[in-house]
């Protein structure tokens, strides 16, 4: 099915990733799960203060609170995004080890402060790998 980012969601995601450089940023992709459409992104606070350039983490209470707010607006949680500063937008083994099933994981590579590439990944049911999913251009 792939994933479609609304123009506003895509712009907000890229701006967040560039503003956070050289640290990793993280946030929620919200919209319609059935349609694979992201209408809104919600920035979260990266709690990995010890290693923010190559790790992110958001604890259960902060995540649950943010997700409940989005769901109260009628949005569904489609997945999550994070940035890889000066690193490709391919998932790492660490990303795979910590991935939730049935969610899209958008990774944006930020090179020297500018967003360079964007890919979306989904965990296989057997957790052995993540498969790339098509990022569709959205209608304006």
């Amino acid at each position: 099915m792939g994933l479609t980012l609304s123009p506003a969601a895509r712009a907000a995601l890229l701006a967040h990733a560039e503003a956070g450089y050289p640290h990793e940023v993280v946030g929620i992709l919200a919209g319609s799960r059935a349609d694979g459409v992201v209408e809104r992104v919600a920035a979260l606070v990266n709690e990995r203060a010890d290693s923010p350039a190559n790790r992110y983490q958001v604890g259960p209470l902060a995540l649950a609170r943010a997700e409940a707010g989005l769901e109260a607006e009628g949005l569904e949680i489609v997945g999550y995004y994070h940035s890889h500063p000066d690193h490709p937008s391919r998932y790492s083994d660490f990303d795979r080890d910590h991935a939730l099933p049935a969610m899209s994981y958008v990774i944006v590579s930020v090179v020297s402060g500018r967003a360079a590439s964007l890919q979306s990944w989904r965990l296989r049911d057997d957790r052995s790998a993540m498969d790339e999913e098509t990022l569709h251009p959205s209608a304006p």
């Binding site: 790790r55 259960p60 995540l63 949680i77 910590h98 939730l100 099933p101 957790r127």
Partner: protein, 93 residues
């Protein structure tokens, strides 16, 4: 003891799309084991091959993380609600 487990969005497709599952158990660990035995595809997402809860799986009894209670030995009484709350983590290298 009848106990309700609330299932997060990410795991619902492994329990037939339900947002909650009723189990009969006297500890949190036994409740999770019953959940997994009824829905085996969930097993690898809840626990590591060594049997530990995965890092992103947080289990709350009411408002309290069972890590701060008696972990998987946390006792349950009828009507208790267990909530599986994900956290997220990752990173480039």
């Amino acid at each position: 003891m009848n106990v309700t487990i609330l299932i997060p969005t990410a795991l619902r497709s492994f329990v037939g799309g339900q947002s909650s599952v009723l189990v009969h158990a006297v500890t949190a660990g036994a409740a999770l084991d019953e959940l997994v035995s009824a829905h085996p595809a969930l097993a690898q997402h809840l626990r590591t091959p060594e049997g530990k809860l995965r890092s992103f799986v947080n289990v709350y009894k009411g408002d309290e993380d069972i890590r701060h209670l008696q972990k998987e030995a946390t006792p349950l009484v009828a009507g208790d609600i267990l909530t599986i709350v994900p956290s997220i983590a990752g990173g480039a290298r």
